[in-house]
Symmetry: C2
Subunit: 233 residues, 2 copies
DNA sequence: TAGTCACTCGCACACTGTACGACAAGCTCG
DNA sequence: CGAGCTTGTCGTACAGTGTGCGAGTGACTA
């Protein structure tokens, strides 16, 4: 198993030139605004006024670059110290922080599952999360289970949320017209499924934004309720 | 917004030839065994002893083909009738059925979020799910929220699970050696993170398979507990 | 002045989805 | 029987991808 990119050491950069930091920063901007398919090594290089293959001196492969970008996102996520917030509200805060980081970087779910996250920020995040759940009073064995339940729920929900938002964005239409077009299409297809019709109608009472937030909060709250009963002391 | 592929009608197939069903079936086999990157139109055509572009007579684009494949998977998932199982165990069964379908088709999470699921099987699945939660006694507004919480949790968890299993598969190593190699690497990187060290050690007491199943069940159970307190009647 | 290191970059390869247009086989109609 | 339409196949071509290779450049050291 090959050594991950964070621990491979680099030579010192002697004069002004492309830098890994610069590359990461620009790549992040492209990814945030144009998504995974919008990031190519050629385009990235062009935006840096460089030749495509020059990047390869600073970053071994595109995959490694993406590893760096993912860890950058992990670094944006808060996990409160348990003594400041208490377990329950700490976990709530963590969930919200994770959600908003992913909303800022909607490309994350598309790439994060294809590789292990072993970067420094990922490690630190995991570590602080475990501290929080441990302080919450879970049995040894349940600490990991509880923590990973929360992460999975949040990522699962946000993944769907991001997918919806990206579909709106790519359609080029306004949020309202997209919703109404989508509605029309769903209604047409759902004519034999009265349950779906009702559901679609129910879901459009709020705006898209509040609807998605409500959805997220409802499930997270329920999950935390369920987890709370597993606290042993 | 363009009409989705299920409702666009086709001409009748007059003589023996390639068929959409055949293409879907072969594509499914490739996808299941080689994953998303393993499916190309040329390879698919080759396996059908056809020219690459011949496929395009039967299927408008590769994306449309993938839409068909996704809906095929939705068709494999059970949702019990509420009178047979009751809400709680019905939801449990649904979750397990969804999980095992995704484990059979590990490519699903990679592609399902990039498009809306409006195929007939998706509709029917959604519809039966809603019936189950409605019968469970959730308030009108909560039916959708509860159902989508469960789906998100399951998909989130299984997404991570599939990612792990795929990493093992692609490494070419046996499960045990992969786990131990991964462990070694994590330990090396995690030296400054004692919490992670402990967690890694805790997680390796069971085999990979039981560990992943336990993880899945723990969170699903907690979530359903939390949802149960939201039932109003 | 010679040599070495740090860095840039053009070219080329194998691969992708799919538009286009040429071609063939079978059916229907006159 | 023959013409023409429909159904279906497929070779070629285009624009795009990540990246290995090797040549080239400028600055610093000995």
């Amino acid at each position: 198993m090959k050594e991950p990119i964070w621990t491979r050491e680099r030579k010192a950069p002697p004069r002004e030139t492309l830098s890994r930091e610069q590359i990461v920063k620009t790549a992040m901007a492209i990814l945030d605004s144009e998504g995974v398919t919008g990031l190519s090594m050629r385009k990235l290089a062009a935006r840096l006024d460089a030749g495509a293959t020059s990047l390869y001196w600073h970053v071994p492969t595109k995959d490694d670059l993406v590893d760096l970008l993912i860890d950058e996102v992990w670094g944006e996520i808060d996990v409160p110290e348990p003594e400041l917030a208490g377990w329950r509200s700490g976990a709530l805060l963590f969930g919200h922080s994770l959600r908003s980081a992913v909303l800022r970087h909607p490309w994350l779910p598309e790439v994060m599952y294809t590789r292990p996250s072993l970067g420094p920020n990922a490690m630190s995040l995991g570590s602080r999360g475990l501290v929080l759940f441990e302080a919450g009073g879970f049995a040894d064995h349940d600490i990991d289970l509880a923590m990973s339940s929360v992460m999975s729920y949040v990522l699962g929900t946000v993944n769907a949320e991001v997918a919806t938002r990206e579909m709106v964005r790519k359609s080029g239409r306004s949020e309202e017209t997209w919703v109404s077009e989508m509605l029309e299409q769903a209604q047409a297809v759902a004519s034999e499924y009265p349950e779906m019709q009702k559901s679609v109608r129910r879901r459009t009472s709020l705006g898209l934004d509040s609807s998605l937030t409500e959805n997220f909060v409802f499930g997270l709250d329920a999950l935390l309720d369920g987890l709370a009963t597993r606290v042993t002391k």
